[in-house]
Symmetry: C2
Subunit: 108 residues, 2 copies
């Protein structure tokens, strides 16, 4: 089902289309952080940050593991790479155009 890939792409790009979420992702890629620790870094309520974390988690860009009463979040670099590969596929479409132009030059 190609539909599922599009859903995934929607979730990925939507998750990345917010600067607070990109910043959270940077932090959790650098190392594990509890939701509370993350929340302390931003000028908004705990609940707002918790929702941003949930968006990143639903997109698969971040996962959590429980440690005591804390929920430690860390970034998933594999997910990040699959976003990058989506862009590469787009770039390949562009390369195809160049190849076609070359063909036209050859024909001539």
């Amino acid at each position: 089902m190609i539909e599922a890939d599009e859903d995934r792409a929607d979730a990925f790009f939507h998750a990345l289309a917010d600067r607070t979420r990109r910043d959270i992702l940077r932090r959790v890629l650098a190392g594990e952080h509890s939701v509370t620790a993350l929340a302390a870094s931003y000028p908004m309520s705990f609940a707002a940050v918790q929702k941003h974390v949930a968006v990143l988690e639903r997109a698969g860009l971040l996962s959590k593991r429980r440690q005591g009463r804390e929920q430690l979040a860390s970034g998933d670099v594999e997910a990040l790479r699959s976003v990058a590969s989506m862009l590469t596929e787009l770039e390949d479409v562009w390369r195809g155009r160049i190849a076609r132009i070359d063909e036209l030059i050859q024909e001539d």
Copy 2:
């Protein structure tokens, strides 16, 4: 000003977070298309497609040139690469974590 980069990232990722826009981008990366030609491909009004094209254009992912009464759109592969490099920078943050873990192992 780092603020401007974040604005650009917001525009890029938001533009890519819609499957119709990603599809339009694929087409215009493969070759030039008029807005009307693009609009014919989707089950929505001309105006809706024209707005999607405008979002991609504002994000810098696509540019248009006038030819007669048509406006020919084509994808900007350089912009696409700068989105990819944003992801690479995120990945570098992750690599930094690994480097730090290696240091800890060394110290030991």
